[in-house]
Symmetry: C2
Subunit: 557 residues, 2 copies
């Protein structure tokens, strides 16, 4: 197969396959098998080139597995296995590769093009995201040289994810633009191997940024992303082909593994925009379901357990879990106390009925009483937060007993508003292997519930209507301690997502004393969030790896 | 005060004060007060220059507080306050400063020299550690220019911590050496503002690295570090003056806030080495006590609670806490079950007596029985890990009830060996606000115990002699499930600290099946460690922020 010279400005007819895959980190055997299958499928579909996401051989993010030489060597061994398959098709994959220089970090984050049984091209990543959930400068040395590659009549500018993200911002994070370096080689097309975790803004953002590149460089782009979740990080797919005019020629589905084709001769036809609709709450809904499904699927568990209080958060968590894992795989425990209202139990039962999940009812009063019999001589009389916290901790014991005996994973049902202000019991309702709603503010949980109910009443309307309560003492309401959620959530958003100062927030019209009290609660409760399960990330600033705050500090306290 | 020209190769007589301080992160008011006090003390002692550690105005590490403009502005305001104090003394402090360029990260990590009421010099940090517990490239743009400053007859090369750490390694992490850049300005002396967290190798390491700089540049070094802990990170002080021959002219005490003086004219006298003794187990012991003391002191709690099982880990934790906080501030709960041996209770009581701490005894059997009464119809018959785990979870409820009622902080007593293999109950004995021994392998816990007993028997000898057991079922021993700790710990060390592959470890003579089983246990129990309290870091690779492993992965599983 001769390599022909590129026809600058024109497009040779080349069918490209976009392989938007979902892999398990470090599962070299399974990932190699999957890549081989997709190469075969691409070949059968007539593609000349198949493109996989960033670090496709290891999965993203591999984190400190990258510090193990053995891990990097295993990735290299998979690359070797793929070479023979590239006899008649170009395979563009990503993997960590050793930095041959003694100076600098030991690895590069590399895209490799295999063709005709050998390596035709490699390009290291230049812009290494090191913010929010990203830690790439922890591992990788940036590229110091840039080259294009001629492949089947097209000159490709191969880039890795962030390499295209230094455009279109007023405040660029990097002092260099690798794509500008590649432009000196007069490429015909930009290829981007990506691993871009979902947040509710992301699908819009990446189109904006890619269009800024199209405009700056007057070139079309083929962008391939992962679909599927890695613990807390959810990758939404949505791989793209954008023409020189900025039209979206192809946008792959969200949250779904998929191989699809695009023929570059279509670029010479008149463009039409095929952008998918992007509705925030439906994206969040689908992201959470993907997150639950892949967490269970990838750790090899099928069944979940959770406590159903009759409140909104556990109801929405149960509905999402039932959708993700199947209702037969969900067990709900109803664990009323003397402070539980009758409607709590009846609402929970109605939800169980609507979802078709398993449920059992266990009283906590006998254990609460025997616990207090032991503790009372030591604690003295009274009823304060001590006794309140004992109740969710007994519930945790029940839930974890079911988890241990039957192999269910406990789902945490706390929302972002209560996690922010520390409204939850450590080792009680804050327990669980995965936090489903920990990045969803309470006001958004209402929206999610209405979205779940969009076709039929799945979550009983009474659960949406009644005032939120932890029901840990008689007549308790969330508003005893907290402002209403439609006041609390915007303040939290300004502080957590927007990183505004107290005076900035107060300037927006919020009560000064309230703002200071809320921010103090957020900062003082860092120790609780430190011990929380991974939180499915759906916002630009989720609790967890992407938000690293001192536990012991005095700022705003 | 005229600035005289430097006497290259000679030393003018200048008294320098090394201010090895301990601050709370973000406590701008308290830190400003402390810096002012030390400036005054330095002035009174006749110093012409006083040097504080890296980012002295914010504390280290400020983490994502740095993303708040307000936080950075507050640090700048403290710098302004300090200017008037510098009328007659040079003040060298560290703080984050805004990067005036739109490209690149928004901040620099800067050392600023104040003198005669104004800023005389600023030098940004160049080498930004981004590995293990360090995340500096997350926030800071490296320096792009380097300059010395003439101060009172000496030309100072001001560097910040890591800036000197790219020497003396076979595999340097950076492609640049800022000190080499500064050498073109012919400095007389190297100053280093540092924030170097303790591990048991660190005090040796920094002397080795600083001597490599002395040798390379033929210049003396003054190095100033923090003393005191920031949650999990413990700073050991040990600030240094090293002469051109590599002699340690001064080494400040470990783990202790201290201002001390050095007069540069001493450099012209014959050198003698004043290195302090560094004994690994005593350093670890003192580090842990510092970690406990500052965690409590900085969050404003005085009293601790912990469960005493009669085993070694809780005994050592209690002894360290009693030393750190005073025995009267420690409450131990003895919570025997039907599986507790008699010696467990009597050993625990003897320890309480020896330490002079408070203790109360609470049975868990009544609550265990009432819990099983509720659960038995749902769980069916049998006794497995389910019933085992209920016992430590009931103990957690007792401990947290005391914590809630009396404002004690619960200390976690798990050691590194059991945390590594997941030998512990989530929300049970893995609970606690601070993990004291989570970075200390079981074999090292024995050494710590013997060190604590070096003058008198504080920890009853029987606790050291009996075989370790969790006592959750009849006759249970750790070795039912795990290899002996003197086999387990070296395997764990090779994997965790040395990042060796299974085949590397097996090559060292360990049983292949055992090695694979242990590494699988380590990787599969990442989810438990993710929910653990901060772990006091004493080794080069502790669980927590410095070790970031995927929770859902298939590597070595």
């Amino acid at each position: 197969m001769a390599i022909v010279l590129p026809l600058q400005g024109k497009y040779t007819c080349m069918k490209i396959a976009l392989a938007q895959i979902n892999v398990t980190i470090g599962d070299f055997e399974g990932t190699a098998r999957k890549i081989k299958q997709y190469v075969q499928q691409a070949r059968e579909g007539g593609a000349r080139l198949v493109i996989f996401p960033e670090l496709s051989i290891t999965g993203y993010p591999p984190r400190d597995f990258l510090e193990f030489e053995d891990f990097v060597q295993q990735a290299g061994a998979v690359l070797e296995q793929l070479k023979p398959l590239s006899r008649d098709i170009g395979i563009l994959v990503g993997l960590p590769t050793p930095n041959p220089q003694p100076e600098g970090k030991d690895l590069h984050n590399t895209a490799v093009l295999l063709y005709q049984g050998k390596e035709l091209h490699r390009q290291h990543k230049t812009l290494l995201p090191t913010y929010d959930i990203f830690d790439e400068y922890r591992y990788f040395e940036p590229a110091a040289s840039w080259n294009t590659v001629e492949f089947e009549g097209l000159r490709l500018a191969v880039t890795v994810c962030e390499d295209l993200w230094n455009l279109g911002n007023e405040n660029p994070l990097y002092t260099i633009n690798p794509m500008a370096k590649l432009m000196t080689r007069k490429p015909d097309i930009i290829i981007n191997l990506s691993a871009s975790p979902f947040d509710y803004r992301h699908a819009h953002e990446r189109i904006r940024v890619l269009r800024a590149n199209v405009q700056a460089y007057d070139l079309p782009i083929v962008y391939v992303n992962y679909a599927g979740a890695q613990t807390d990080l959810i990758f939404d797919g949505g791989s793209l082909v954008i023409d020189k005019e900025g039209n979206i020629r192809k946008e792959l589905p969200f949250f779904e593994e998929k191989l699809d084709f695009f023929d570059t001769d279509e670029f010479s036809l008149p463009g039409q925009d095929n952008e998918r609709p992007k509705e925030k709450i439906s994206l969040i809904h689908d992201a959470l379901i993907t997150g639950i499904r892949d967490y269970f699927g990838k750790i090899g568990f099928r069944t979940a357990i959770l406590g159903l209080s009759g409140g909104l958060d556990s109801a929405v968590t149960a509905a999402l879990a039932a959708r993700a894992l199947g209702p037969g795989n969900i067990t709900a425990l109803l664990m009323p106390s003397e402070f539980s209202s009758e409607s709590s139990v009846s609402d929970a039962k109605a939800l169980v009925q609507n979802l078709g999940i398993n449920a059992e009812t266990l009283p906590i009063t006998p254990v609460f009483d025997s616990t207090m019999d032991v503790l009372r001589p030591h604690l003295g009389p009274g009823f304060d937060v001590t006794e309140e916290n004992i109740q969710p901790r007994i519930r945790m014991i029940y839930l974890m007993a079911f988890s241990n005996r039957f192999g269910h994973v406990l789902l945490n049902t706390s929302n972002k508003s209560e996690l922010a202000v520390g409204y939850g019991t450590l080792y009680g309702d804050l327990a669980g292997g995965l936090s489903v709603l920990g990045d969803v503010y309470k006001t958004q949980v209402y929206k999610l519930a209405r979205y779940i109910n969009r076709n039929e009443e799945i979550i009983p309307q009474n659960i949406l209507d009644k005032p939120p309560s932890a029901e840990l003492r008689p007549g308790q309401k969330d508003t005893d301690t907290l402002p209403p959620y439609d006041v609390l959530d915007p303040i939290l958003h300004l502080y957590i997502e927007e990183r505004k100062s107290p005076s900035d927030i107060i300037e927006q019209g919020y009560d000064a004393a309230l703002v200071r009290r809320i921010l103090r609660m957020v900062n003082r409760n860092e120790f609780k969030r430190y011990q929380l399960a991974p939180v499915l990330r759906v916002s630009p600033k989720a609790f967890g790896m992407g938000r690293r705050m001192p536990i012991v500090g005095k700022y705003l306290e």
